[in-house]
């Protein structure tokens, strides 16, 4: 086998490797972005669904745990700069937490949670002012629909 032939074999292997690497790099980036988008969507969706179900049916300890899990996940997503309408979800989660604390007799914790909820809603709607009862009613109606429709 001549040197030219060996060079040809090596060149074809390198060309193959190069072509594969370029298309693999593009696909890797694409897969990563799709994975991020979908797992973010699924994660915020399933934790919210769980928090709604638990806050409507479970005792306050379990309901609180579920809502805190949702808040933790949403805050992690927020900190990782993954764009999603998290303010709305976080605001609603804190209202939910405030209702749980209220029904468990923890008025101070309930008010603190409502304060947090307001800070998230304020980022979205700076000019909108809602009373505590309005906020709770909105979230209750939303959860009612979600729970009954099984979404």
């Amino acid at each position: 086998m001549t040197r030219a032939m060996v060079l040809c074999i090596m060149a074809s292997a390198l060309i193959g490797l190069g072509v594969g690497a370029v298309s693999g790099r593009n696909d890797g980036i694409l897969f990563s972005r799709s994975f991020d988008d979908l797992s973010t969507l699924f994660l915020s969706d399933i934790t919210e669904n769980f928090a709604v179900r638990q806050s409507r049916h479970a005792d306050s300890a379990h309901a609180r745990e579920a809502v805190l899990l949702q808040i933790k996940v949403l805050q992690l997503l927020e900190r990782s700069h993954q764009e999603l309408a998290n303010e709305e979800r976080l605001g609603a989660a804190y209202v939910r937490l405030s209702m749980i604390e209220g029904s468990a007799g923890n008025e101070v914790a309930g008010r603190a949670a409502l304060q947090q909820a307001r800070s998230y809603f304020k980022r979205l709607h700076p000019n909108r002012e809602e009373t505590d009862d309005q906020l709770k009613d909105d979230v209750r109606r939303m959860d009612d629909f979600r729970d009954r429709s099984g979404l």
Partner: protein, 171 residues
Amino acid sequence: MANEWARVRVSFVLSFLACLALLPAGAYVGYLAATRIAFRYEQWKSLGALPRQDAQQLRRLGETAYALNASYVVLLSKTKASFERNISVLQQLRPKAVPELWPIIDLQVAEDHATLARLEQEANGPVQAADHRRIAQDMLGSLGWQDVSDTVLEEIADNQLRSRLAKESRK
């Protein structure tokens, strides 16, 4: 001279065949390696704003959520077999999942049992229906549900059977 020429011809053919084989093989290896490296790098970059521990946790949570959502594909049809299959998928997923998400998996399993109780009842299987009902009630009880009566289980089954298709079409 003829022998020499034959040897050159053989080595030429062999090199040509080697080139033909190495080109796609190289492309395949390059593709696999680059996909993995680019995927890992992008993942690392996208969670770069978080401390390492949080980034790892979020990645694991995301993987579990992804797998959990994939299990719903099993439920495209609202049959007994599909709910049984989903329970088995979720039970396999649970030990691999992030412990924080175990209650979410448990709730889904409980709801699937509640729905199976209804489907068994309709298929004249009262014993199996009672078994599914008992499992659903135990699981919901462990999740802190205050009312695990038959009425609640019926509501769950109604919701599951009604919403499954809507849920899938939404995704």
